[in-house]
């Protein structure tokens, strides 16, 4: 096993929010561990509000964890020197969901793409211009487009510009937070292909966040499934999408409707409301919606247990005494 380039241990984020007139703790992410090896893609799936974006922002050091730590090449941010921090900023680049808000409408595309380069010392104007042209072509746009403004581009093209910007500083990791969910089907495929090409070409590591299992399957090597701020299952993409171990993952699979009028009815269709993260259920967070819920589920939170597919899942059903 190689050393992870980016890792998180015990990561947690608590927001103080005002609810019913009182300040309350909202646990957006809780005790989360993950590690990313160079050149691999880690998929993170979960429904809205489960903490994916919060996690992403913590990994990008845009937000400070309430507990736990993020390490880049083995060092936490506070341990890094100024140069190392700058290296981190260059090495880790995000692409966000909404290409309309990712590009400053008052800046020319060339300037937008060059922004991550602006903090690198000793880079001449010509170098920057060359690099901008290079990455624009890498995402299927033309070098001349650098002179135009974002509003002259369609959503799909904008997302390409956002990707070009992300790869401009030759990063080692791309943090992709739902990069295609705002795109049309035909554009979505184009972007996914570009990302995949870049991965292969530059050996980029990726964190790919999505609520759609099928896209994660297409993009990622490994998958982490989140529910109410916690990891409830992890394993290889293939395993999770075909032989899930957790009832929640199963429900997600069932809900991802296949484009086939004659598809069979799923065995474990999803049910119930998503609990409020302000008031999370005791025990297993999923027990309120789980058709297989047992008494113990409401009381005791299941640990991560080995699942049949080779990964881990947090479900009491996988406990050795019950799996028989």
């Amino acid at each position: 096993m190689t050393q992870p380039i980016l890792s998180a241990r015990g990561l947690g984020r608590v927001f103080k929010v005002r609810h019913r007139g009182r300040m309350q703790d909202l646990h957006a992410v809780t005790e989360l561990d993950l590690s990313l090896e160079p050149g691999r893609t880690l998929g993170i799936v979960g429904e809205s509000g489960c903490g994916k974006t919060t996690l992403n922002r913590m990994l990008l050091l845009l937000d400070t964890p309430s507990s736990g730590e993020v390490r880049f090449r083995g060092k936490t941010f506070s341990e890094m020197s100024a140069t190392e921090r700058r290296d981190f900023r260059r090495a880790v680049q995000p692409v966000f969901q909404n290409p309309f808000s990712s590009l400053d409408p008052r800046m020319r595309v060339g300037k937008i793409i060059a922004e991550p380069l602006s903090t690198i010392p000793d880079l001449s104007k010509a170098d920057i211009a060359r690099r901008v042209a290079e990455v624009l072509e890498a995402v299927g746009l033309r070098a001349e487009d650098a002179r135009r403004f974002p509003n002259e581009f369609s959503g799909g093209q904008r997302q390409r510009i956002a990707i070009a910007r992300a790869i401009a500083s030759k990063p080692q990791i791309l943090m992709l937070d739902e990069p295609v969910s705002s795109q049309d089907i035909s554009i979505r495929a184009q972007i996914l292909n570009i990302l995949k090409d870049l991965q292969d070409e530059y050996g980029l590591g990726c964190v790919f966040i999505s609520h759609d299992l099928a896209t994660v399957r297409f993009m990622a090597h490994d998958v982490v499934v989140m529910y109410l701020g916690r990891v409830i299952e992890r394993g290889s993409a293939e395993a999770i999408c075909t032989r899930p171990g957790h009832p929640y993952t199963k429900a997600m699979l069932a809900a991802a409707l296949p484009p086939d009028p004659d598809a069979p009815e799923p065995e474990l269709p999803p049910q119930g409301e998503l609990p409020s993260p302000l008031d999370p259920p005791s025990g297993c967070p999923y027990h309120t919606r789980c058709p297989l819920s047992m008494d113990v589920c409401a009381v005791e939170r299941p640990p991560m247990l080995p699942a049949p597919h080779g990964g881990l899942a947090a479900c009491h059903l996988l406990a050795p005494e019950r799996s028989q």
Partner: protein, 305 residues
């Protein structure tokens, strides 16, 4: 046929033409009222700028013998003083022209001061949030709603009406609107992904404010500034009425109306003509401001006070 040398000197012709076309295109999008208002404003600015060049008389020189002459078209009027003369026999047209300059200066200075102050406070409050925000915004609340006219009166009473006072006082009244607007817009833009992206690129907070926030909130602030031109003119007039406006003998439109008010039946032109000038200008400014708001940020429409 374009002369190549000239083209080089002027920069790329296509870009210039592009800009021109863009302006012409914008022009084309406005209705006739807006265009008329724009023309009026352009005249106003031009008159203000040319001021002394086109003024038929010295706006400060008068003769008591020729006081309260009616406008030329009235009986007893003459074309020496096309709009008549005031209480000291000074030419009203010349004073109107000089007044345009004063009003424009007051507006420009107030908007610059109030705008800078409000924008700084609002942007910092919006961007940094937390305590900065709370303290700044309480201040804004206070300033926004406190009857600053009383402060204005006090200030005026203390040091007498002066140009500086007017500008300080009106700025005190108006800065808070910019602050509120700048804060609101900054809050919106702070949540835009490109600001986060700038941070992941290692830009410092102040560089982000300079590069991303300010350019993006500028259009909204410009709309507010436009709409405030009217507010400034009207406010200055009210202060003049209370005796703390632009000090005499300098003619501001507001003080001309205020001084002429007792003559409304005997020499109506004294307060009607500058009053009309205020009305037309402020209306034009508001029309153009609204039109700009429609184009730039429809949410601002009708929100100024």
């Amino acid at each position: 046929m374009t002369d190549p040398i000239q083209t080089n000197a002027m920069g790329t012709p296509s870009r210039l033409q592009g800009k021109f076309a863009a302006i012409a295109g914008l022009w084309g999008q406005f209705g006739w009222t807006v265009r008329l208002a724009m023309v009026l404003l352009a005249i106003f600015v031009l008159v203000a700028l040319l001021g002394p060049l086109i003024s038929p008389h010295d706006p400060l020189a008068g003769s008591l013998r020729a006081r309260l002459d009616p406008p030329a078209w009235q009986e007893g009027g003459s074309w020496t003083h096309p709009l008549g003369t005031d209480r000291l026999g000074r030419d009203i047209l010349s004073r109107l022209i000089a007044g345009a300059r004063i009003s424009l200066t007051v507006c420009a200075l107030v908007i610059a001061i109030a705008g800078a102050m409000g924008t700084a406070v609002g942007t910092l409050a919006g961007y940094f949030g937390g305590w900065t925000d709370r303290i700044f915004m309480r201040l804004v609340d206070l300033a926004l709603s406190f009857p600053v006219i009383l402060l204005a009166l006090l200030l005026g009473a203390i040091s007498g009406p002066s140009f500086t006072n007017i500008i300080i006082v009106i700025s005190l009244v108006l800065w808070s609107q910019y602050a509120r607007m700048a804060r609101g817009e900054t809050l919106k833009i702070r949540n835009e992904d490109y600001v986060d992206l700038a941070r992941t690129s290692g830009l410092s907070d102040f560089r982000i404010i300079g590069r991303h926030i300010l350019p993006n909130i500028a259009p909204s602030l410009i709309v507010i500034a436009t709409l405030q031109v009217g507010v400034v003119i009207v406010l200055e007039a009210s202060l003049s009425f209370l005796g703390v406006g632009v000090p005499p003998p300098a003619p501001s439109w507001g003080s001309m109306v205020a001084d002429g008010r007792s003559y409304i039946t005997s020499a109506w032109w004294l307060c009607m003509i500058p009053g009309l000038a205020i009305l037309l200008t402020v209306m034009s400014v508001n029309i153009v401001g609204d039109a700009l708001a429609d184009k730039i940020n429809p949410a601002l429409r009708g929100r100024n006070i």
